[in-house]
């Protein structure tokens, strides 16, 4: 006798620990195998692009903090860069260095969280995560030292940063930078050769190079698929051209490669931090900019390599105090486009891991 079977639909989320936020995945399953999925988003939609049109340019800086809320420093940067491009504001050299120091520290913090939560999705419930948080905590302490905030920093301004770094910052950062490589090695030893991790990540959720490019995927996900594309190199901004660093890439584009790229990027960020501390010039950190800034009529797009991918702001000005239009190119949303192709044919438990390996932040997906 043959058993009659039929596909069935289950909803993962919107409130579910493996969805990293309020994300819903409607999966059609054949037994345990995923036949089709549909991401359903919008649970955290606050209409940031709309709110931004009703506030002046400066008031929009804290709004950007609330996009990828685990990487606020990286969100401030492209927004102030876009306004600076539009209004032709020059940034003092010291401020450029401070911005890069913040952005690279933020990259380490964000990748630690990505790797930690990926391990969570694999079932090592909160053990690696706690270790990652130990290091992330030190970075957050440093952020608190410069701007008094631990999550939503609101630190960058048009023409620089809000305050200069305090005297105790550089010694503390030097200590962090000298100990960080040891911790990264430790995590890598614990995780990279772990049998379960290898079994669950190797060959799972492959994103081929051509599909990755065609799906507009960016960031570590694109580089794991073998595309050497990093905005810091290919469209160098700020003072990144003064540092020596490599772009880690992998070949296959599976979950393991995405993990590898993140681990290696943390090492490169440490390298950039070391050089930035050495080169940090004295001087002003904030150019004089009118608080009621009215950029000339026009449009500008500025983008950076944020921890999750290419984060860009497209601004249109009509010479008033408020932006006429602000569009955010959110890497988390666009990276999700490739999810469907990656999970079809895998078991549901693998789909969770594949989703986790993309590393999205719902604040940025929904905006």
């Amino acid at each position: 006798m043959t058993l009659k079977t039929e596909p069935f639909v289950i909803n993962l989320g919107p409130v579910h620990p493996s969805t990293h936020g309020v994300f819903r995945l409607r999966a059609t399953l054949d037994g345990e195998v995923v036949m089709d999925i549909e991401p359903i988003i919008g649970y955290l939609h606050r209409g940031i692009e709309k709110i931004a049109e009703g506030r002046n340019y400066k008031q929009d800086i804290p709004l950007t903090d609330r996009l990828d809320y685990v990487a606020s420093m990286s969100n401030n940067l492209p927004y102030v860069m876009a306004v600076e491009k539009l209004a032709e504001i020059a940034v003092p050299e010291r401020a450029e260095y401070i911005r890069i120091i913040m952005a690279e520290m933020q990259r380490i913090a964000s990748h630690l969280l990505a790797v930690g939560s990926l391990a969570n999705d694999l079932g090592t419930f909160f053990t690696p995560f706690q270790y990652m948080f130990r290091e992330r905590e030190k970075i957050v302490d440093l952020f608190e030292m410069v701007c008094g905030q631990r999550l939503l920093y609101n630190y960058m301004r048009f023409g620089g940063v809000s305050h200069d770094i305090p005297d105790e910052f550089i010694p503390a950062l030097c200590k962090l930078v000298s100990t960080m490589p040891g911790f990264i090695d430790e995590y890598d030893q614990l995780l990279a050769e772990n049998e379960i991790l290898l079994a669950r990540l190797k060959g799972v959720g492959i994103l081929p190079k051509e599909l990755a490019i065609n799906s507009s995927v960016s960031g570590p996900m694109l580089r794991a698929s073998g595309v050497e594309w990093d905005i810091r190199k290919v469209d160098s901004y700020s003072v990144y051209d003064r540092f020596n660093f490599d772009i880690p890439t992998e070949v296959i584009g599976d979950c393991y490669d995405r993990y590898r790229v993140r681990i290696q990027e943390m090492r490169q960020s440490v390298r950039i931090l070391e050089q930035a501390i050495e080169q940090l010039p004295p001087g002003e950190v904030l150019a004089k900019v009118s608080p009621r800034l009215k950029p000339p009529v026009g449009e500008a797009y500025a983008h950076i390599e944020a921890p999750k991918g290419e984060l860009g702001f497209y601004l249109v000005s009509d010479n008033s105090e408020k932006p006429y239009r602000l569009h955010i190119r959110a890497p988390s949303l666009i990276n999700l486009t490739a999810l469907r192709e990656m999970v079809i044919g895998w078991k549901l438990a693998d789909a969770i891991v594949i989703f986790g390996s993309i590393d999205i932040c719902l604040g940025e997906v929904d905006r």
Partner: protein
């Protein structure tokens, strides 16, 4: 550095094949007619020395008289970029061709524009609201949106 290709040079190349397609050539962008959007995009993607294989982002701006669609095209092989624009001058029923067949990355972004700006993308495989719920009335990013309150 990503080189922003000169839009007048691209326009010259397009003129042979699409003599009536170009509306305006600006320093930083190329504005074309909506009817030719798909053909020109496909030409830009498939011509060997242009090879715009990466669609960085799509967005839309409401200029009250018309909607302007903005496409940032990038070539990861040649490391150059181009901003392509098209203007939609039927404010009642704005409609443009979907780019999903050429670049899959357009999928969610076009749904976002449909949801928030109310542009219909012809040929999109799954055009429905992405952030707001199905029964929602209006499109919040439009300048004449009736849900707006003074702030």
């Amino acid at each position: 550095m990503t080189v922003a290709l000169s839009s007048s040079e691209i326009a010259d190349r397009l003129k042979n094949q699409f003599p009536e397609a170009i509306t305006e050539t600006k320093k930083e962008c190329l504005i074309i007619k909506g009817d030719f959007l798909l053909d020109i995009a496909s030409f830009l993607k498939n011509t060997p020395d242009l090879e715009f294989n990466y669609l960085s982002y799509i967005t839309c701006v409401d200029y009250k008289d018309y909607f302007e669609l903005v496409y940032q095209l990038v070539s990861t092989k040649h490391n150059h970029s181009l901003v392509l624009k098209t203007q939609c001058r039927q404010p009642e029923e704005p409609i443009v061709d979907s780019m999903v067949d050429l670049w899959k990355g357009a999928d969610f972004q076009e749904r976002e524009i449909y949801d928030l700006m109310g542009i219909t993308f012809k040929g999109h495989p799954n055009l429905k609201r992405i952030f707001l719920w199905d029964g929602f009335q209006g499109h919040p990013l439009r300048k004449d949106n009736s849900n707006d309150t003074e702030n």
